[in-house]
């Protein structure tokens, strides 16, 4: 959160670097858009952009939570499984109507988050291991609750996934609102400031009387809840609960989005918009390769290159 305006007198090269650090992702997204505009048929169509946005929504929402966790020098590998859990819980409680079901799903996400938070904040387990255990266990749990894919017809839930307001899909609106909320949380609230402080130097935060445990706890709960919301939205779009394959490897996509967006894994710093951009970048890349009908192998190698390039541009100089 250094505001670069203050670094007058720095040579031009450093200014370029700083600019790249802060806006590299945006540039990359722009570049990819231009490329597609030029070489991809039917790319410049409203529907197309709607499709891309709708598809990126779950990743964005999960990545928001992930960014918060990473800001505290943590990581949350359980998000994919939480999505699956949300899917099965929704199916389980749909009998009571859509809203109660969704509420239960989000609650479930919060509980998993609380479990992770306890392991990290109270017991002091390293985040990556704590949430690795959850990644394995929670996926299983989701399948125990709902052994196989289950379709549903609940109009509310279906509408949530497929309807639009003024041409903007509801899922996208949800994502935008959540992004704004998280951005506000990070930039303007005490909690947000304390969060990055805990990530920057835990001992110091503790000695300054910050509620370190509560902060960590809250962060993992938020991550769980956001993942659950993402799970619900994905499910509503699919019009079926699929706890087996929903959210597989989502943790990696989300982490990628966050880091490509310029948030360092070492914590103490969060870039919310960057994260969204990171997600968009990966989505556009995926879309481009699919639209040009390139094989899987290409997709993966291209992703590798982009990740490296983006993170290289955004990395911290010392």
């Amino acid at each position: 959160m250094t505001d670069t305006a203050l670094r007058q007198g720095a040579p031009d090269r450093t200014r370029v670097i700083t600019w790249l650090q802060d806006y590299g992702v945006y540039a990359a997204v722009a570049a990819l858009l231009l490329f597609n505009a030029a070489f991809t048929p039917h790319f410049l169509a409203v529907d197309n952009f709607r499709t891309q946005l709708v598809q990126v929504t779950p990743i964005v929402i999960v990545a928001l939570g992930m960014a918060l966790v990473i800001g505290t020098e943590g990581i949350d590998l359980s998000v994919g499984s939480v999505m699956a859990l949300a899917a099965s819980v929704v199916a389980l409680y749909l009998g009571y109507g859509a809203l109660p079901a969704i509420a239960m799903a989000v609650l479930a996400g919060a509980l998993v988050g609380a479990a992770g938070g306890t392991l990290v904040a109270v017991v002091g387990v390293q985040p990556i291991v704590a949430t690795l255990a959850l990644l394995v266990g929670v996926r299983g749990l989701a399948n125990v609750f709902l052994p196989q894919l289950k379709e549903f017809t609940n109009p509310t839930l279906v509408a949530l996934g497929s309807d639009s307001v003024a041409g903007v899909p509801i899922v996208v609106i949800v994502a935008v609102v959540l992004t704004a909320a998280v951005a506000f949380l990070v930039k303007r609230t005490t909690f947000g400031r304390q969060l990055v402080a805990v990530g920057g130097n835990r001992a110091a935060s503790r000695l300054s009387g910050l509620p370190v445990r509560r902060v960590l706890m809250t962060v993992y709960i938020l991550s769980g809840m956001l993942a659950a919301v993402a799970g619900v939205l994905a499910t509503s779009r699919l019009q079926a609960s699929d706890p087996t394959s929903l959210g597989l490897f989502m943790e990696l996509s989300a982490i990628t989005a966050v880091v490509v967006g310029g948030t360092p894994l070492t914590g103490g710093r969060i870039r919310v918009l960057g994260t969204v951009m990171g997600a968009l970048l990966m989505q556009l890349l995926q879309a481009t390769l699919i639209k040009h009908n390139l094989p899987q192998s290409w997709t993966q190698m291209a992703q590798a290159v982009i990740i490296l390039a983006a993170v290289y541009a955004a990395r911290e100089r010392r």
Partner: protein, 331 residues
């Protein structure tokens, strides 16, 4: 990950509970392993048969070999997500190379996967980018390469060379050669980690990279070597597995990196770097194999429930490490 370390209150005489904790931290996996073996023997008569134990040992040795490399990486304060992909890539390359004889079958995967490790190491060391990200890219790239070599995974190369196949399939009283190869690697690796300057440097940069640099540790070189080793071992494991299966199966190794990390962590190595040992890692790898086997022995568990069990087990182990293992990290 964290370089600074607040000095804990004076502990001129370390209290017995702490010492017990350290012991468990270091040998916990071994103890649990022993306990499970006893339980298995008592509960199931088809458990302690040479055949069954032999299978567990052989099957675990591939994970164990990779985990040895991962231990180096983690102690140095890094992480390597690419091993799963390098494992499958190594297998495919070995099977592909086997038509030109055992030497090529072993050499090709070592060269390619070694190169992967080397490049990752160079990037991490030179650009100070997070290992997590660099090796995540490696994971994608290696799998992509594997897919393009096997036209999107459709082709499975068969092992043509009998000598090479025997390396993976031969056995001494029900225990396959791979296990003994693993033990050999373990021995060498342990000496390097504990008794050479290189080993000391690995611990040093894991403990406090900046300090290590100021103390004159060749940080960059050490990192490069560490990731190189990890890549080599992943490739070797893949090759040995291909020899065992006598074909370059393309659907292997997805999510393997997480199992490997689990094994290392269960073995008592801290992901924060600077501490850890190889013995525990091996115990951790075998432990995972034994648990799998016991779950099957019990039978009846639905496949989903098995996952819940494994997840819960991992959680219990790490919590135990945390509570028993030395001073608690400041929160």
């Amino acid at each position: 990950m964290q370089t600074t370390h607040p000095a804990p209150p004076m502990a001129t005489t370390r209290n017995p509970r702490e010492r017990a904790g350290r012991l468990l931290q270091q040998h916990g996996a071994l103890i649990v392993l022993a306990v499970l073996l006893v339980v298995g023997t008592v509960a199931f008569d088809s458990f302690t048969t040479p055949a069954n134990l032999g299978n567990i040992a052989t099957a675990s040795s591939f994970l164990a070999i990779i985990a040895i490399g991962m231990t180096f990486v983690i102690i140095s304060g890094g992480i390597d997500l690419s091993v799963g992909s390098l494992f499958v890539l190594g297998g495919v390359l070995a099977a592909y190379g086997s038509r030109h004889g055992a030497a090529v079958a072993l050499g090709l995967p070592l060269v390619v996967c070694g190169a992967f490790g080397l490049v990752q190491g160079l990037i991490i060391a030179r650009t100070r980018m997070a290992p997590f990200i660099v090796t995540l890219a490696g994971l994608l790239a290696a799998r992509g390469l594997m897919l393009s070599l096997t036209d999107e995974g459709a082709t499975t190369y068969l092992v043509e060379d009998d000598l090479f196949a025997r390396i993976g399939q031969g056995a001494i009283l029900d225990v396959g050669y791979p296990f003994f190869i693993m033990l050999a690697i373990l021995a060498v690796a342990a000496v390097f980690l504990q008794r050479t300057g290189f080993g000391q440097n690995v611990y040093a940069i894991g403990g406090n990279e900046d300090a290590a640099a100021l103390m004159g540790v060749p940080v960059a070189r050490t990192k490069v070597v560490v990731y190189l080793v990890s890549g080599l071992l992943a490739g070797l494991a893949g090759a040995l597995n291909a020899a065992r299966l006598s074909s370059g199966v393309t659907i292997l190794g997805i999510g393997l990196e997480l199992d490997v990390i689990a094994a290392v962590v269960i073995g008592g190595t801290l992901l924060t770097g600077g501490a850890g040992a190889l013995g525990g890692t091996i115990a951790g790898a075998l432990l995972l194999g034994v648990i799998q086997n016991l779950i099957n022995q019990v039978g009846g568990l639905t496949s989903s429930f098995q996952q819940v069990v494994s997840g819960a087990f991992l959680a219990v182990v790490v919590v135990a490490h945390r509570i028993l293992g030395g001073v608690r990290r400041e929160t």
